[in-house]
């Protein structure tokens, strides 16, 4: 009786698939375990982290307090690093979104000479592995005198070929009528792009925004190479090096990890619908 009701609730098609549905839910929830553990560990004092059950122990914000006040004494400015991460990531994301939207529009809807060559170039760039560029990029940054500066974190990422390509694929699929109507009104380019194309392609914009934000926020190897001054490090590097040398302070490390993950999780939750829709687009 109960099982049948549950089964109907789950919309399962048969007895077998009811079990599978259950299994999938179980798996999905267990996939979240590391998150839960991380958050709980960040709320417990360090000696209790390994010895208490998941939700047990004395919960408090002590670790966060440590991170923001005492850690500064150890030469680890976490609050500053958080600010740097935000500043750099938001700048890069906005820059990429704006440039991608405009250039994608050009690529998708404006016939200009050598347009197909440009598209081929974008594809070529995406195929060539980027890891090779890390070292020479370091040399370039050194020549520009940008080592140990925020510029080193921002400038190389201000435009993204991937972003342009993805957005242009989405723009391509739009019916021409909208644009013709706008042109009839003698609309300017920025109006067409920002007021018409972007709102109608929210999913792909969300995807590009989310991946750019995540990629920049969590970027580890590049800032590790290019920034050595503790006061200029983004949170990802500061957290990692803090853990390497003060790994015994497990509680604060977990608190830092929560901080590092929180913006990404929040963004993900807010934009989940767009994200899911956009995923199907990218998989084409």
């Amino acid at each position: 009786m109960i099982t049948t009701t549950l089964r109907k609730l789950a919309g399962a098609k048969s007895a077998g698939s009811w079990l599978i549905t259950l299994a999938m839910y179980g798996l999905a929830l267990s996939w979240l375990y590391p998150f839960v553990w991380m958050v709980m560990a960040s709320l417990k004092p360090t000696p209790e982290i390994y010895t208490t059950s998941l939700f047990g122990g004395h919960l408090s914000l002590g670790n966060y307090d440590f991170l923001f006040s005492s850690a500064t004494k150890l030469n680890r400015p976490f609050l500053g690093a958080l600010g740097i991460s935000f500043g750099v990531t938001i700048t890069v994301t906005i820059s990429v979104l704006v440039t991608s939207a405009f250039i994608a529009y050009a690529l998708a809807r404006i016939a200009f000479p050598l347009r197909e060559r440009f598209r081929d170039f974008l594809l070529l760039q995406m195929v060539i592995p980027t890891m090779m560029f890390t070292l020479p990029m370091f040399v370039l940054i050194k020549e520009l005198g940008l080592i140990n500066s925020y510029g080193a974190l921002i400038f190389p990422s201000m435009m993204s070929g991937w972003g342009i390509y993805m957005v242009s694929q989405s723009f391509k699929g739009m019916p021409q009528d909208y644009i013709d109507a706008a042109n009839l009104d003698r609309a300017r380019l920025w109006h067409i792009v920002l007021k018409i194309m972007v709102p109608l392609n929210k999913s792909i914009i969300a995807i590009v925004a989310l991946f750019t934000f995540t990629g920049t926020w969590d970027n580890f190897m590049w800032p590790l190479i290019v920034i050595s001054d503790v006061d200029k490090m983004p949170l990802s590097v500061l957290l990692a090096t803090f853990s390497k040398h003060y790994g015994v302070y497990v509680g604060p490390v977990m608190a830092g990890a929560v901080l590092q993950t929180l913006p990404l999780v929040l963004l993900f939750i807010f934009f989940r619908r767009h994200f899911l829709q956009g995923m199907s687009l990218t998989l084409k």
Binding site: I20, A28, P34, I110, Q125, M137, Q260
Partner: protein
């Protein structure tokens, strides 16, 4: 002024926009690319000008046991990671098919792992896998021993593979799932009429028809195997006896601890070439253009 602007046609605007990206690429892509070529074939140690040294770097890199160790570790990682990721994502895709309600919720739970901070999670998993961590506590209470994740070379690689798989199974699974959606129902109905056993159905119908998605997953796993840095760097730091020392870590260390950026540049070129060739071969061999009659 207006009239002048009006005369500038749309195609000029388009060209200018494309040009802006090309200018950006010239600085941040082409110029480093040129430097890469220069660095790879010269001797440079951060100070003074690079001195042309021909193929010397190739010789040095190919004789470096650590370099070959790194490549071998890529093979080891792939051989552990691919089966886990492949079976896991296939299972996910098939499982998702049978779920009635809540597909989106399940997909989101898995995707959350993909979208979160690799730095944060490497640290979390390093704690989870430690000898007094929750995983070992569970194993201890069930089986009575602790798993030495970090001190056994093979277990350390397995630990990293599990972490990366945790991150990507949802994403790969969705790729395969979207492929499964494109298979027309009639094919299965016809197979059922013929009393085809499930295994045959899987191998003869399903897998070939999602060939494109399977190849995509395979290519991604190859790319991941060559490119991981954050997870091994933070979880094992190169592992017991250097057995989780991955190429990017070796390149980083060669450049900045051994102070040999030219060797590191040549290493990165060789590794990139190897991964590129491998992917092309994989595609050539396995990609089938499957057409539905």
């Amino acid at each position: 002024m207006r009239a002048f602007i009006g005369k500038i046609s749309e195609s000029h605007i388009g060209a200018l926009l494309a040009l802006s990206y090309l200018l950006f690429s010239a600085i941040f892509w082409a110029y480093p690319f040129i430097w890469l070529i220069i660095l790879s074939f010269s001797d440079w140690r951060f100070f003074d000008a690079p001195i042309f040294s021909g193929l010397h770097n190739v010789v040095v890199v190919l004789r470096d046991p650590e370099f070959w160790g790194g490549l071998w570790n890529v093979v080891r990682f792939f051989s552990i990671y691919f089966p886990i990721a492949f079976v896991g994502s296939l299972g996910f895709a098939f499982g998702l098919e049978h779920v009635g309600r809540g597909k989106a919720f399940i997909a989101l739970c898995f995707l959350l792992a993909n979208i979160s901070s690799g730095v944060a999670f490497s640290l979390v998993f390093a704690k989870l896998f430690s000898s007094t961590g929750p995983i070992n506590n569970m194993v201890l209470s069930w089986f009575g021993f602790r798993i030495p994740w970090m001190s056994n070379p093979n277990l350390a690689m397995l630990a990293i593979a599990l972490v990366v798989a945790w991150k990507f199974i949802g994403y790969y699974g969705l790729i395969l799932y979207s492929g499964l959606q494109t298979i027309p129902k009639e094919l299965y109905d016809a197979a059922l009429l013929d009393n085809t056993p499930p295994l045959m159905r899987l191998v003869r119908i399903t897998l070939p028809l999602i060939n494109a998605q399977l190849i995509m997953v395979l290519v991604f796993t190859i790319l991941v195997s060559f490119a991981i840095f954050t997870e091994p760097y933070l979880i094992t730091g190169g592992g017991p006896l250097g057995r989780t020392n991955m190429p990017l870590m070796i390149i980083y260390e060669t450049a900045f601890r051994r102070l040999q950026p030219s060797h590191a540049a040549m290493m990165s070129v060789i590794i990139a070439a190897v991964s590129y060739v491998l992917i092309r071969i994989t595609r050539k061999l396995l990609e089938k253009d499957v057409k539905l009659a």
